[in-house]
């Protein structure tokens, strides 16, 4: 019986958060610290002709200037630290350090940068036209092995698309399985829908500020990243130093949502500036800067042809996605969306095609459910449209297509570790009172109409092969070292509890060591991709079991018998047949020190990462060391599946809506931390509501300038945009490939809510489907009043 798994607890960093003692990157100070500001591009694409610094000669307090010429060259299409060819508005060109921030900003204002405007592009489809503009001087797409090249579709490709439909020329990626054409031929209903999903900014509450200094040959960086150990190799690479010469501190991270998963270029600037000036440097990033350098979710323009039997079962799907990639390498959202399609709707035959087109908009990167959540917003309303045409219930059409343990994933249709989507739909429908609520669909109250809907989303949620590390000290306490980040899910703590669970520790006697690479942290995957609850639970299980085995061996040596005669409990190791024959953990830890070797970390397993080995070196000889690589078997994709049920009231005169109720249901395996899961399900839904109805990038096509900058214009949801209360539940069935049964969940809980809200708006409008997200009030008013929309079907950068 688990005494920690599945129970609520107070995360050890919580008190620091409510008292203001939690220190984020911008909260650190150092003697003689300088302040750094950035000069960023006002143009979407330009070349720096010259930089005139003459005005700075008479300015007191300016200490250093850093330009792209002084930094290692970044090969296209990588994200640059500083650049002489800015490829988006807001791209950092140079940095100035001064004795205070005012002087630094005044210096920025006094620098005369002469920029040569270059052609730009803010709409991928425009770039694909035969004479369309390219975002980079070399082209508009990245081909593996070739770099940036030009890709154009023919006029015939565009003409063949049909009125308002997505043209589908040559793709970059293509895969298929099954007989797609036969699937369509045998379908009772075939829908062919083009769609648009808007790009959205991450806008973590903490902009990506950083502070750095050099001391005794080591570089100390205080950064804002959602990962800890995983950042070190990338940041050391950006700085051109060895990993052991970097001390990285990120005990708290004010939000990342994918944008701070690994090292990112701009965080290297204070370190370079500190090396140049010989003084500590703090770079405070403003909200306006974060808007651009904080990356964004790529927008999609796409098309889905999908066939259904009369009972709603999908027969085939053909998906095409053009991804607005931003100017640099970007991410694989479009491909992930294709794989998600294959799992969530389990089409027996499917084709996927897609390509990422470069644009002069902010660099793209992973944002919570990258690809999968755009897919949810695009496809779930199409599923509803099919249900209407086939006269099927909205839950029933999802239930008949729902993935289970036998489902396949992606192009190869490889296995999944566990999937209980049908169970999630059933749990949710019952708790939500689905039948009764559906009866209220379309009900009028003045100008307000009730909409009731359900949405689903998926993300792969786990990995393996990383290291766990812990120490039982002679004081009897357990010190669990974790390289997981702290982005606010508390999974760094809930997965650490797995090691404490294995050892039977009282949680009050456990301390988690984290947040500072000099404290000895094991190699860990980044805290992204909903993976921590799976990946880190396995790693901490491995180190916990290693410690148990060593405790048993010590007991057998000292008390007789063989290790298998012993068991652990009450923070002691005891003989199963003679419980009084026991050693306390404190005594065993002291014995481990005396025995040395692998017991105290003087020797380490061959298969652990070098970072972990260095961490062990720092604590060797101070207790019993549990250290192991996670070699637990793993085969297949780990699905996190989420379902959202929603009821709204839509005012068809104003286009405003109110969410009356929301219920989120998760399939995330065994629940590790109920309150933490509740927080993720509900708060993920909040972000989803923003994606569905509030947030979007708009770029002016004439000048290539952004129309949505900062929080006021990008509109992340507030207290008033969400239901007054929200509900949650979980399937809570163990995943067989995790020793404690847990899977991740952080990402799909957003996508299912976004999809549910979009579907509910269309439900309130009696089945008017927009094929677009977000749906904003003027679109609703137009639809309700029978007016045409102000945008064409595939247009981007719309209101």
């Amino acid at each position: 019986m688990a005494h920690l798994i599945g129970r609520d607890f107070t995360p050890p960093d919580l008190r620091a958060k409510v008292t203001g003692r939690a220190k984020y990157a911008e909260d650190f100070r150092a003697d003689s610290m300088l302040f750094c500001r950035l000069l960023t591009s006002p143009m979407p694409h330009a070349r720096v002709r010259s930089v005139d610094l003459s005005e700075l000669r008479n300015m007191d307090g300016v200490v250093g200037i850093l330009t792209a010429d002084e930094l290692p060259e970044v090969r296209a299409p990588g994200n640059t630290i500083l650049t002489n060819e800015p490829l988006y508005v807001g791209a950092p060109i140079l940095a100035v350090a001064a004795v205070n921030e005012t002087v630094a900003q005044n210096a920025i204002a006094a620098i005369n940068v002469n920029l040569e405007p270059l052609p730009f592009c803010v709409d991928p489809l425009e770039s694909l036209r035969p004479d369309g503009p390219n975002a980079r001087t070399d082209g508009n797409i990245v081909r593996r092995g070739e770099g940036v090249v030009e890709m154009k579709w023919t006029a015939e490709d565009f003409d063949a698309a049909g009125e308002g439909q997505m043209p589908m020329g040559e793709p970059l990626a293509e895969w298929s399985y099954g007989d797609v054409e036969a699937g369509f031929a045998n379908a009772a209903l075939v829908l062919d829908e083009s769609f648009v999903t808007a790009g959205t900014s991450h806008h973590s509450m903490e902009p990506r500020s950083a502070m750095a200094y050099w001391e005794n040959g080591k570089c100390y960086v205080y950064g804002s990243t959602q990962s800890q150990a995983y950042v070190v190799p990338g940041l050391a690479g950006l700085l051109g130093i060895e990993q052991e010469d970097l001390v990285y501190i990120s005990e708290f991270c004010g939000g990342g949502f994918g944008s701070k998963g690994g090292a990112y270029p701009v965080m290297a600037i204070p370190a370079y500036m500190a090396r140049k000036t010989g003084r500590p440097v703090l770079m405070r990033i403003s909200r306006a800067e974060e808007n651009f350098i904080g990356v964004c979710r790529p927008a999609f323009q796409g098309r889905l042809k999908i066939g259904f039997q009369s009972d709603g079962r999908v027969t085939a799907a053909d998906l095409y996605i053009v991804q607005n990639n931003g100017p640099n390498s970007g991410g694989g959202d479009y491909n992930s969306a294709g794989s998600a399609m294959s799992l969530v709707y389990t089409p027996p035959a499917m084709r996927f095609r897609g390509l990422p087109i470069l644009t002069n908009t902010p660099p793209t990167g992973a944002q919570r459910g990258p690809g999968q959540n755009q897919l949810a917003t695009a496809v779930e309303p199409i599923i509803d449209k099919a249900a209407r045409e086939l006269d099927l219930d909205l839950v029933a059409i999802r239930r008949i297509n729902a993935p289970d343990n036998s489902s396949g994933y992606g192009a190869s249709q490889g296995p999944v570790t566990s999937a209980y989507q049908r169970e999630a739909l059933d749990i949710g429908a019952e708790q939500f009172g689905w039948e009764d609520r559906r009866a209220r669909s379309g009900q009028r109250r003045g100008s307000k109409v009730t909409g009731v809907a359900v949405g689903q989303a998926f993300h792969s949620a786990g990995s393996g092969g990383f290291d766990g590390l812990l120490r039982i000290a002679p004081d009897g306490k357990l010190y669990i070292h974790t390289g997981a980040g702290n982005l606010g899910t508390y999974s760094y703590a809930s997965t650490s509890r797995v090691a404490a669970e294995v050892l039977g520790y009282d949680w009050d006697n456990v301390e988690i060591i984290r947040g500072d690479s000099s404290r000895g942290l094991p190699w860990t995957l980044g805290q992204f991709g909903s993976n921590t609850s799976f990946t880190e639970a396995r790693a901490n299980y491995a180190s916990g079991m290693d410690a148990v085995q060593k405790l048993k061996e010590i007991a057998a040596r000292d008390l007789g018998g063989s290790p298998s005669d012993y068991d652990v409990g009450n923070e002691a190791i005891f003989a199963r047949a003679y419980p009084s024959r026991r050693l306390s953990y404190a005594v065993a830890a002291q014995r481990a020190i005396e025995l040395g070797g692998r017991f105290s970390g003087e020797q380490v397993p061959d298969d652990i990462n070098q970072m972990t080995a260095r961490a062990v070196e720092g604590i060797a000889g101070t207790g019993l060391i549990g250290v192991a690589r996670d070699n637990h078997p793993r085969n297949g994709t780990v699905p996190a599946l989420a379902t959202g049920f929603i009821e709204i009231e839509l005012d068809i005169e104003t286009g405003q809506f109110e969410i009356i109720d929301y219920l989120g249901v998760a399939d995330c395996g065994t629940v590790l931390h109920p309150m933490g899961l509740a927080a993720q399900i509900k708060s993920g839904a909040v972000m989803g509501f923003g994606m569905a109805a509030l947030e979007r990038h708009i770029y002016d096509t004439h000048y290539g300038l952004p129309g949505t900058v900062g929080l006021h214009q990008t509109k992340p949801p507030t207290y008033l945009d969400v239901p007054l209360e929200m509900e949650w539940n979980a399937v809570d069935i163990a995943d067989p490939q995790n020793p404690v049964g847990s899977k991740g969940i952080g990402e799909p809980v957003m996508g299912c809510a976004a999809a549910a809200l979009l579907c509910a708006i269309s439900d309130a409008l009696d089945g008017h489907y927009f094929n677009r997200s977000p749906i904003v009030p003027d679109m609703i008013v137009n639809a309700a009043s029978g007016q045409p929309q102000s945008h064409s079907p595939l247009q981007v950068n719309t209101q």
Binding site: K17, P42, M59, P117, E206, G255, R287, G676, T718
Partner: protein
Amino acid sequence: MSETNSVDIGLAGTGASPFPPHPSESENPTSPNTSPGGTSFGWLEGCGSWSRRDFIKGIIASGVAVSGVPYLASAASRPALQAGGERLISLNVNGETRRVSVLPNETLAMTIRYKLGLTGTKLGCDRAECGACTVLINEVTHYSCSTLTMRVREMEITTVEGLESETGELHPVQQAFMDELGPQCGFCTPGQVMAAVGLLTENPDPTREEARQAMSGNVCRCGAYDHYLNGIMRAAREV
């Protein structure tokens, strides 16, 4: 960009304090924007000659200007900000009188974070969009990023650091936020705490709807609103 390297900017500021000189050493009488001297400033004295434009620039959050036809104007065409002179003033912060040198256009958020060492108050947007910098001024919530320090000299300022009792007991709002797992990333939390304390001071028994209206100036990108509201309702029962 060879020009960059050819200009000697050297170590012009080496050895200088991170902040401009202490006013007892130097007030800058040459600045056209410096307020008249004297010892008995009222609320607005010391900042009256500052335009809204100067104030916004003083926030130093400009980044990229993105309006009109900005790229016809190079960065250099933007006029530099005159720093003006600092004045030594007394602030009542968390029940203590703190002597601090303050620029006329300095925001309270910058003063408390960078001069008083109280980094619990966060800067999320620096332009009154997010509420991460919320503090209490005479028990009323204010965005400290958009409040001039000079304006609050005679007032009682409370930051998140001022809520715990001397024996380390948390304020009921802080305790309730812990009990209900309110914070996620935690960056907006000090602002949420202060807004909730302000709400319960004015309305000790709010409905959930009243609470969310009162809290609606505090953005949480993690979206932890439900748990924060749970915390406020719990705290209301215990205040």
